[in-house]
Amino acid sequence: MPTVELLFSAQPEHVRTARLVAAAVARRAGVDEAALDEVRLAVGEACSRAVGLHRSNGVEAPVRVMLNEDEKKFSIEVADEVPGNASGGSPDAGADDAADDEGEMGLAVISGLVDDVEVIEGAAGGVIRMSWPTPAV
């Protein structure tokens, strides 16, 4: 069970809420002050991407953000419910080039920013999993 879980309807304004929550919980979990900007940006990118995917695919389900405090790390998972390879397989791929480009730029930012990151594309949707070290207590 994640320590904190946030679900929100795919609207751009809630991405801010997700950033705010992720940064607050990360701080509390002991993530280095200097890395909080990274957390904020990476979560924002992952959520913006998920919001874009849900909107362009007409998915009504909420975007899910799971925040986990483990012993040595703080991890975040952002899950969308758009099945398969998101960037190639969307039904109206032609019309959505701009959105896709942004999604890919978002992934580029995340990969450039976060050392420990994993992107999983599953049948039920995609998950971006990221983690940051926390001090041993």
């Binding site: 751009p12 991405v15 801010r16 940006l41 874009g52 942004e102 978002g106």
Partner: protein, 113 residues
């Protein structure tokens, strides 16, 4: 914090001073502003990012879109930015090679490449 936008002209350049957060929520406002300027015939833009607290890839996308638009008119889009955490995002995405980035508005206004 929300996005703030203000524009002024210096010679043939139009300075767009941006403040606050450029993200998935506010980026459309910046896009509108840039489109409007180009439609009104301002093809040499300087985007002053010194007041920007937060920038994500949606914001980058809007800036790239602006650049494409002014280039279609042989124009230019220059950025002013000294903030390391913002510069980092341009570096990560390789956009430092795409945008001329200056340390002051004066420098950007004077630049001709």
């Amino acid at each position: 914090m929300d996005l703030s936008l203000s524009t002024r002209t210096v010679g043939d350049r139009t300075i767009v001073e941006v403040g606050g957060e450029i993200d998935v929520y506010t980026a459309p406002k910046l896009r509108e502003q840039l489109v409007e300027l180009v439609n009104d015939g301002s093809y040499h833009l300087v985007v002053d990012m010194e007041g920007v607290d937060f920038l994500d890839s949606t914001g980058l996308g809007v800036l790239v879109g602006g650049l494409k638009r002014v280039r279609a008119h042989e124009g230019s889009l220059r950025l002013v930015c000294n903030q390391e955490r913002i510069l980092k995002i341009f570096r990560i995405t390789g956009l430092t090679k795409v945008f001329p980035i200056h340390t002051s508005v004066d420098e950007a206004v004077a630049a001709t490449d």
